[in-house]
Symmetry: C2
Subunit: 342 residues, 2 copies
DNA sequence: TTGAAAGCGCTAACAT
DNA sequence: ATGTTAGCGCTTTCAA
């Protein structure tokens, strides 16, 4: 049998559809209290739930947004999504989750589908993405917020979020220096990734501020996984003179370094200080607990959807106010760093 | 300016809306090729995208489903969601992700919102849930698939997925026995959780099959975290006689046990064999790589949405065919288990 | 204070 | 081979 509609409610309550619609939308200003009550009773009795698809058709609002990520499995995204979700829930929005699986075409297919479903806005956090996506959204007047992407201005409603690695990494280097370290090394991510280069460069700049020549700081390219750290430490162990401080591109790499070091008889932090980046939940549980540069993932999620909502608000009136914002990183000192060995 | 609609396309192509609709839906059977081309050109020219909200209104189909989880951050869900997503994408469905945050009311609010948006079906994987949710869905004829929940039959379109821990855990025990182990211990999850009790009981039963008296097998209650494992091993180390084989309720616990054991001078697997459960991605990278009972998370996701699609198909015709299916666990042997010490 | 009617963008009978 | 028309379930003037 068909769902119960506003007409059914109207009939049961003995009023017109318009009146039911009014109570649905809280426009009781001129309504006789009696009427309102009759309508509400009818609604309860029938267990009526208004159809948002019909509502959307007239109102042009769907209370729906979407987030595109490369891979939900990546813990980075899990926290971001959490932040998005919480904010969305407060505003009664629902969130489509789209996994691009690092596939540009798949992402575009999602974008098209989302446009067809008339989502009000999209957050793009996929590490691989394409300007085509933004062009498509733009053509359809769907605002977007993107993470870490240089947007060629196209008159689009596109706000961006940048991550300031410099601050947290500078703090890490200051911390190293304060502990008396002088010989450094970096285990990076795959250097074809922009973020890997950003992190490395930030490390170099931070060292330069302390007068440490960049040429004296070797970089070993890792894979952002534990295994990469394990491999890296083998190379490090052969270096002479031995570095006493290593900055890893992420926490997993740092954990691999620590595990591998132990296997080589190098003890962290006694013989070697290690700093990671991310502050994943595991960092705290590691042995020793990891000193690391915190990346505020949950906040990125919150910020993203808030910026999206701003775009939605403004796009109805003013031309639009795309914006660029930065989130900042910071150092979390735990026990994988200590005074430099003599 | 307003979006371009089917009427705009019709005007530009010089045909009626019906004709446009036909090409949109691929009903060209009786259509003059010329006409079709004109329409397609008009669509391209205008960059027209049909509104799925309007389509949904007539078709009563939204191509949208939802998944409720307690917490996206939990890696268990990440993989499940991945499985769901991939299948959904194939069928051109979009997926609403809802984080209940272990809050029953929040979950109910989501359910209501989803009903209003006319999602075609819902997957419930929240570890805390309520029959109210199902009742609400049922009243609105929205089919559901739930994980690990005894559904009081209510004539609803509710299929369920169960996890058969027994098989994998039995394999683990068989493996222990084959390696000559005789003294066992279990580090469980919090025993107020059903799954924690299920896993413990499965372990006991498996041992019983080998004639090992359950009374001889102590259980230490952990917290499913690394720290719980670390604590547990301290207790274990004081036991006499020392157990040689420990089954942990999950991989994190197992990793904590291994880390804690090392700190006590107990070496895994030489002195102690350890088996985890979950087969999280970290298990493989652990040191030593962890022998564990695999929980097929991705497959659970795939299965869930497939079962949901089945429900959608059948609910249009036959009364409906709710179903119960089981996924099975299996042992993955790595290097945290070895022959029992003499 | 409430109702009638038109319209949101599309689909599907029914005509032609 | 294509057009006309009547909804789908709701909101929103405009009247009364």
């Amino acid at each position: 049998m068909p769902r119960t509609t506003i007409a059914d409610v109207a009939k049961v309550a003995g009023v017109s559809k318009a009146t039911v619609s009014r109570v649905l939308n809280g426009n009781y200003e001129y309504m006789k209290p009696r009427t309102r009550i009759r309508v509400e009773e009818a609604i309860d009795k029938l267990g009526y739930r208004p159809s948002n698809v019909a509502r959307s058709l007239t109102s042009n609002r769907t209370s729906t947004v979407a987030i595109l990520v490369s891979d939900v499995g990546n813990p980075f995204y899990a926290d971001v999504i959490h932040g998005v979700e919480d904010e969305a829930f407060k505003k009664n929005y629902d969130v489509f989750l789209c996994n691009t699986n690092y596939d540009l075409n798949r992402g575009l297919a999602f974008i098209r589908s989302l446009i067809d479903k008339r989502v009000e806005g999209v957050m793009i956090m996929s590490s691989r993405m394409s300007d085509l996506w933004l062009a498509e959204l733009n053509r359809n007047n769907v605002p977007a917020v993107v993470l870490d992407w240089e947007v060629k201005a196209m008159g689009a409603d596109v706000s961006t979020i940048g991550v300031n690695y410099a601050i947290g990494i500078q703090a890490a280097v200051d911390h190293f220096i304060a502990l008396g370290h002088q010989r450094f090394i970096h285990v990076s991510g795959p250097l074809h990734l922009q973020t890997a280069r950003d992190r490395r460069d930030a490390f170099w700049s931070a060292l330069a501020r302390h007068g440490i020549p960049v040429e004296s700081v070797p970089v070993i390219e890792g894979d952002l996984q534990i295994e990469g750290g394990r491999q890296a430490i083998k190379t490090i162990a052969k270096l002479s003179p031995q570095p006493t401080a290593v900055f890893a591109a992420n926490d997993l790499t740092a954990m691999g370094i620590i595990a591998g070091a132990r296997a080589q008889g190098i003890e962290v932090p006694r013989d070697l200080s290690v700093v990671g980046l991310d502050n994943i939940w595991l960092a705290e549980q590691a042995d020793p607990p990891l000193t690391t540069v915190n990346l505020p993932r949950y906040e990125i999620g919150q910020l993203a959807i808030q910026m999206l909502f701003d775009l939605l608000d403004s796009s109805s009136e003013r031309p639009s106010t795309p914006v660029r914002r930065e989130v900042t990183t910071s150092l979390v000192v735990r026990q994988s760093t200590a005074a430099a060995p003599q």
